[in-house]
């Protein structure tokens, strides 16, 4: 009984924290999306007006398309790269600890610092990337200043910032694979790629799936990169749903509109969250 009480005590702490810092804001946000408020007087219920306002905004479709493209690109680049690095690190016999530290280093930088660092890398004039291209006699790119490359440039920043965490998780998963499997495969004459295909991927299938879903949920909420690097430009090419939400709430003083966008994004992310929960339950079994 006493043991149970201690457990319930710990549970209460967590429940109170979640109630105050997660559930209450979520409920408040949902209510806000159906209200008009100036935070001075009482809020008025406006039905679906806020949703109508944001859906009729010409930037609304752009924001969703940009978010979808960003998510897909972030998966193509940001999902494959950490996994590949983890495999390489796992195969290495020397300097593994040092390289692990180097790969994880970007995670230790505050996101704002990392993003501003890339602002300099992307400078079309003296920026690092164009200097490298110039070294190889290649023409410089406009990076953030072009509608063709701006979104991809943001994905690169995001990938670099989150590379370390993903790699470490994959590495941990890889190290749970029994070494005998690889030894047996090697004796049977399997090369590196066959070992990856027939041992590594099947053995880490569940963690790969979980990471995929978590990455979708995280990248769809992309905000800091467009906020700090492009301000949604050029020509709204990097306006994302989260950035548009910020514009509505804080620049246009339309919290109802911001709330409506947030609610819509939440519904989309809930679908992925449900799948995530099912997958992680399967993994637990």
């Amino acid at each position: 009984m006493r043991r149970n009480l201690t457990a319930y005590g710990f549970l209460c702490g967590a429940l109170i924290c979640f109630a105050f810092f997660s559930w209450y804001p979520i409920v408040r946000e949902v209510l806000l999306s159906f209200q008009q408020t100036n935070f001075v007087g009482d809020a008025t219920w406006v039905g679906l007006d806020n949703f109508r306002t944001v859906v009729e905004d010409p930037v609304f479709v752009d924001a969703w398309v940009n978010t979808a493209i960003f998510t897909v690109l972030a998966l193509v680049i940001g999902y494959v790269v950490p996994f590949a690095i983890a495999i390489v690190l796992n195969e290495l016999k020397h300097a593994r600890g040092y390289l692990r530290f180097v790969v994880y280093l970007p995670v230790m930088l505050p996101p704002a610092v990392a993003v501003l660092l890339f602002k300099w890398f992307y400078d079309p004039g003296p920026g690092l990337f164009n200097q490298i291209l110039g070294f190889f006699q290649l023409p410089g790119l406009s990076w953030l200043d072009s509608t063709d490359t701006a979104l991809v440039s943001l994905v690169l920043v995001s990938t670099w910032m989150n590379l370390g965490s993903g790699t470490l998780i994959y590495l941990a998963a890889l190290q749970t694979i029994p070494g005998e499997l690889y030894e047996a495969a090697e004796l049977d004459g399997a090369g590196l790629f066959r070992r990856i295909r027939h041992i590594t991927i099947p053995q880490t299938k569940l963690i790969l799936l979980v990471m995929l879903l978590l990455q979708v949920i995280a990248t769809m909420q992309v905000f800091i990169e467009p906020f700090l690097l492009t301000g949604g430009g050029p020509e709204d090419a990097t306006v994302t749903v989260a950035y548009l939400m910020y514009q509505y709430a804080f620049n246009f003083t339309n919290f109802g509109g911001g709330g409506a966008l947030g609610f819509m994004l939440m519904l989309v992310l809930m679908v992925f969250s449900v799948i995530y929960l099912r997958v992680s339950r399967e993994e637990a079994r």
């Binding site: 001075v40 930037v59 004039g125 430009g233 050029p234 709430a249 620049n251 246009f252 003083t253």
Partner: protein, 454 residues
């Protein structure tokens, strides 16, 4: 029995209503002066931060002097840097943490009034001795349908900010800044020809700042952002096209605007302070930002009137009042602002003290008063304590009264966001179609204006 209960309830309700209408019963909503026996405590935003040692010392001195004059009033400053932040503004209102006298940019005033987030101070303006001496154009910023909602603290009109050292290097006369956009284009070409990454002219194009500067340039060409009734946009006329065509020519034909775009004000200031930028549109206090934040030198900078000179954007900041503030608090707040912000020789306009404290004096800003005796006195006091190379700003100062300052449009932030996209397109895409961009922007702007019910 039932009717007795009803009668009791009615009496209680009427009593409660009467109490609510009467507040604490002292002054009500009349314009009578604050009773010297009424104790009032007010919170005021934008107290200088601890890092601004001299300004903070001066603020504390001013509070002490004011409280000595009015022992019944307590002024509690609230510091923050920057003084206003869009993220915290609404949160402070929602959480009941907003100061009684809160700080705002001119850009946000119309929006705050439209959302009912500031108190109507019209009945209490009698507390402000300097109210009649304010420049009517500046005072108008805080007016809406015959009511007043705040008072200015700083104001400026936009002009051409330039690097005198680069002007000299490029063979241009640093005492004769360009007066027309054609002259700007010509000067930008010469400055960028200096090479080594030097940019002739730079323009903002991100975070709604591109739209803000587009508005300034549009005014300089004689254009307007909205029609006379404010219900439809009007920026797509010949003046708007001329603004964008000029930028397009400088960016792509002359290559005098550098390759890096999507700039915000801090980027441009960094370029100017590092001696790599010739010109941009700005206010006089940019010089202070360049020196304080980017280690620039006042001697390097000069300012002329806005090219074209048909009109310019009038900007600045000031104070509004918490809609929940009592009449007593509003009266006390107005008395503080009158003392601190609007009386020549006192508070922020005490130039002699600022000079003694080693702060820069002499920039032609603020210009709160019109061409009257108060304005004249303020100008004389500033000139007497000037410790900056004020002759570098003479061209701007001389033309100040001849270039009318125009206010920002309704739904400013939304229109600026829409026009950001247009300006960034012209600066990042060689084949940008100006007519098409403006037509698309007009549709979006008209929708935004109609939605807001402006």
């Amino acid at each position: 029995m039932r009717s007795r209960i009803l009668a009791t309830l009615l009496t209680v309700a009427l009593g409660a209503t009467a109490a609510a209408c009467g507040g604490d019963g002292s002054d009500g909503k009349d314009g009578a002066p604050l009773d010297a026996g009424t104790k009032v405590s007010i919170t005021v935003g934008c107290m200088p931060a601890k890092s601004q040692e001299a300004q903070r010392k001066e603020w504390n001195e001013d509070v002490a002097a004011f409280q000595k004059l009015h022992p019944n009033i307590t002024v509690e400053g609230k510091d923050a840097f920057p003084c206003i932040d869009p993220q915290t503004f609404q949160a402070k209102l929602a959480g009941g943490q907003m100061e009684d006298v809160f700080y705002v940019y001119f850009t946000d005033v119309k929006n705050i009034v439209a959302h009912g987030q500031a108190a109507d101070i019209t009945p209490y303006l009698g507390q402000v001795k300097q109210n009649a001496n304010l420049d009517p154009t500046v005072a108008k910023v805080f007016e809406d349908r015959g009511k007043t909602y705040g008072l200015p603290r700083q104001n400026y009109t936009m002009g051409l900010f330039y690097n005198r050292t680069l002007f000299t290097k490029a063979g241009l006369d640093p005492d004769a800044p360009p007066k027309t956009w054609a002259e700007v284009r010509d000067a930008a070409k010469k400055i960028s020809a200096l090479g080594d990454g030097t940019v002739g002219y730079a323009e903002l194009s991100a975070k709604n700042q591109g739209g803000w500067h587009f508005t300034t340039s549009l005014y300089s060409q004689g254009g307007s952002m909205v029609g006379p009734d404010g219900k439809k946009s009007a920026f797509d006329g010949p003046q708007g096209k001329a603004v964008l065509q000029n930028l397009k020519d400088m960016r792509w034909t002359d290559d005098s605007m550098g390759s890096k775009q999507l700039l915000v004000d801090a980027d441009i200031q960094r370029m100017m302070a590092s001696g790599k930028l010739g010109m941009y549109l700005g206010a006089p206090d940019n010089a202070t930002a360049l020196v304080d934040q980017f280690k620039g030198d006042y001697a390097d900078y000069g300012m002329g009137p806005i090219p074209g000179g048909t009109g310019t954007l009038l900007g600045g900041d000031g104070y509004m009042f918490n809609p929940k503030a009592s009449p007593e608090k509003i009266k006390a707040g107005l008395m503080w602002l009158d003392f601190y912000a609007l009386t020549p020789g006192q508070g922020q306009l005490n130039y002699a003290r600022a000079k003694t404290d080693g702060r820069p004096v002499g920039l032609p800003q603020p210009k709160l008063f019109g061409q009257n005796a108060t304005g004249q006195k303020d100008r004389e006091l500033r000139a007497a304590s000037a410790n900056l190379p004020v002759q570098n700003f003479k061209a701007y100062e001389d033309a100040y009264t001849s270039v009318p300052g125009k206010l920002e449009p309704p739904q400013a932030q939304q229109l600026y966001a829409i026009l950001d996209s247009v300006v960034s397109a012209v600066l990042t895409r060689r084949d940008a179609n100006i007519d098409q961009l403006l037509a698309d922007a007009r549709k979006k702007a008209d929708t935004a204006l109609a939605r807001s019910g402006t």
